[in-house]
Symmetry: C2
Subunit: 465 residues, 2 copies
């Protein structure tokens, strides 16, 4: 017997995400009869998504119901699951922010961490859930997963599970060292840590440790690969020189978005980025890659618009009839239908990852079934990874939350100052003030104030001289 649930999708205007979700729901018999509630502030997109979803389900003959609304609280009524994928600020705003930073001498952004608007939205959703659907699960699918899930889990009582794609990087390693795509299910692996900061502690194929094969690949093919490999998507960096360099520093392979972090020295300029992350874009976080990434998003959106406006087009043909690799729907299926599985989730630690405080959200494997989401107690990461990556990142997250709660502008300044590209106090003050003064950030600019006597913090030597 299938179980009908209500899934509320906040920020449903992302065509790729929402239609992927619908596809997975259509192809999951146990969730037949379910209702998907699309919520977004963009009415036009919402109408398009609603139309495409309904047509796709109809084509497949799936029993799903849909609603769409710009009213978040309405969407949350009777929800069993809330999937929050919303991003408050557009890619265009982010680009403008990078341009402001660029003017002040920063390559590719200030790298200040404050998540004011995302935190506000996340807390609004979580607090609404406490009132409207307190028993529902929140599946947080938008960034920052680490900081945001930690904040929401501290400030509200709702059940939270954060998800990310990063861990699929493991399969890129597997394919590169020669494992066949059809055999990937025979891999046993573990990569715990914090979101965007996970490390491959275990990697077996049919019970055999695969690390020696990784070492052999590096030894025999690494240099050639780094010299000749040309990425076909901006995020194709799992086997880059930078990833292997981090592996050599730490003895464990960094997985997925973890590779995009690492020290500042991988990220100083486009030539350096290409050296570590390869041609032609130097990884996803460069002035060459980002426009392409945004362009692709827009192309997909245009294609969706075309499909929506062409009632004769087959959506099954366009979107396929295979499940995505997203975890949201399988997790819902596991929770409501006891269709047990292992997943990579972000949940409050409470002992799963040794050495990290209980009230911090960690990314760990979990067994999920009708009992709930049960993280595996994975033990510990090596001291060097804890001391150079996990714990410093924990402190950065705590500073982000503390700044958000205190409204202390000097914490934003400290953040910019600490950025490795900052060359002087005066530069940081000017860059921060210009960034805060950007259009569309008025509320944040007003919220953050210097502490008593803080005028001194705005004094610059150049102004005095």
């Amino acid at each position: 017997m299938p179980t009908a649930v209500k899934v509320s999708v906040i920020g449903a205007g992302s065509a790729q995400f929402s239609l992927g979700l619908v596809k997975d729901l259509c192809l999951t018999e146990g969730l037949s009869g379910s209702m998907v509630s699309f919520m977004d502030i963009n009415e036009e997109r919402l109408a398009m998504i609603h139309k495409l979803a309904a047509r796709y389900a109809e084509e497949l003959g799936a029993d799903l119901r849909f609603e769409s609304t710009t009213d978040r609280q309405a969407s949350l009524q009777e929800a069993d699951f809330v999937i929050n994928t919303a991003a408050v600020k557009s890619h265009h705003h982010q680009r403008a922010a990078r341009e402001v930073a660029d003017k002040h001498g920063y390559y590719y952004g200030l790298k200040n961490r404050i998540s004011f608007y995302q935190f506000q939205l996340m807390l609004d959703v979580a607090r609404d859930m406490e009132t409207i659907c307190p028993e529902a699960w929140l599946i947080q699918s938008g960034n920052p997963v680490f900081d945001g899930c930690t904040l929401m889990s501290r400030e509200t009582d709702i059940k939270i599970c954060g998800l990310c794609h990063g861990h699929y990087g493991l399969y890129e390693i597997a394919r590169t060292i020669g494992l066949e795509r059809e055999n990937l299910s025979k891999i046993t692996w573990q990569a715990p840590g914090l979101n965007h900061n996970i490390w491959l502690t275990h990697f077996y194929y049919e019970g055999q440790d695969m690390y020696p094969r990784v070492d052999e690949w590096i030894e025999t093919e690494g240099e050639t690969y780094w010299r000749t490999h040309v990425a076909n998507r901006t995020h194709d960096i799992q086997m880059s020189r930078g990833a292997v360099h981090q592996y050599r520093m730490y003895g464990l392979f960094p997985i997925g978005d973890t590779v995009r972090r690492g020290g500042w020295w991988y990220h100083t300029d486009i030539e350096t980025k290409k050296y570590w992350f390869g041609e032609p874009w130097g990884g996803p976080d460069t002035e060459l890659a980002r426009p392409l990434f945004v362009e692709n998003l827009e192309k997909r959106l245009a294609e969706m618009t075309r499909l929506a406006n062409d009632p004769k087009a087959s959506l099954v043909e366009a979107l396929g009839d295979q499940k995505t690799r997203e975890q949201q729907v399988p997790i819902i299926d596991a929770l409501v239908n006891d269709n047990e599985g292992q997943f990579q989730v972000n949940v409050p630690n409470r002992g799963a990852l040794a050495g990290v405080p209980d009230n911090v959200v960690v990314e760990v494997p979990a067994l999920i079934n009708k009992t709930g989401i049960q993280p595996l107690r994975v033990g510990s990461l090596p001291p060097k990874i804890m001391l150079e990556h996990i714990l410093p990142e924990w402190l950065a997250m705590e500073r982000n939350i503390e700044a958000f709660k205190s409204g202390d502008r000097s914490m934003l300044l400290w953040n910019v100052l600490e950025g490795h590209q900052t060359r002087s106090y005066d530069q940081a003050v000017a860059a921060l003030e210009d960034w805060l003064a950007m259009e569309g950030q008025e509320e944040m600019n007003d919220f953050f104030r210097y502490p008593a006597g803080g005028e001194m913090l705005l004094q610059t030597r150049s102004a005095k001289a």
Copy 2:
């Protein structure tokens, strides 16, 4: 009835420190009959100190006995107190190290934290004590107090108390805002934290909060002071613009050596240092200040040599007959004679300072009497200080200890890379290797090895290009 104890002084070749100690012992009746055992590897200095100490005590008619030895284990026999003030590497070696860094583009040193030789010596002393005088107190009086005391307290079972002068900076604030020298004893204050990282949480004079007077001084006299004040000693920076700037960032005044830290932006070059820490030297950590500091040490040593060679000179006249402000002898007096007092000590935390792990040494006030050293449970520091100063410093200490225990050269590299002055990976590799290859560091250079596959970490782009 006085209590005779044996005090072993490790690194007794520092004339100023050793003779100050002797002076305090001579002037502390309760310790009459005590034995001071001077230990150093420099025989010549040792003989001079021994002679001066005996003559000084005789002039004052104090009942003290002295011995001197280059054999540490002999000195520790039957010791009740061990005062370790030894520094393995000379000021000249430190200068040479700064010159190596300078060649690689670093202003005033690499600022890498590794304390290989000091850690070795500290552990050697503490382990010898476990065997030879397990009941004795170790009074650690040489740097790094924070890292070293934490390491020794984890690796041995001896009783440890670390001491530093930094907290006396409080009295410089008091005098600057107009409190009279003879009234300083009416101040009640508290400045907890980690060594060289302490923050004035409480500051009362006759029960009145003095922070408003500090604010008034800044408001009315600060700018004039910063424009006109000329330091008469290199460490005169307690009221500098840099100190007040930190106060404005954090709402609590940084005390003593805390002022010398702060962010990298106070320390980029000599002009910047002068802006924040004043004329004529820009604080104690500059190429202008350090030679003067070392020169003064050498002048004092020359003066001691002259006195030692002039049997007719009055040492009481030369050295005075007032107690120093050092805490070592009063603490011994408190412990053995129940002559109770409050002191600023560095001891394992175990709950004294909230938010810091139990097995980390904190600097806190303590009540000391026959019962022992009893740290006050001071509560907590503001979140911003914890997140931007205390906890990052805790992690840096943990990395220092982990590097020392693991011998992982990549941790030294990471340390240099993280230094804000480092501009590229290649620069860090070259600077580290040159520094490790310095004369007198052969054992350390041999001890630290790259992990498996670590050749890649030595590859530089410039070499490849």
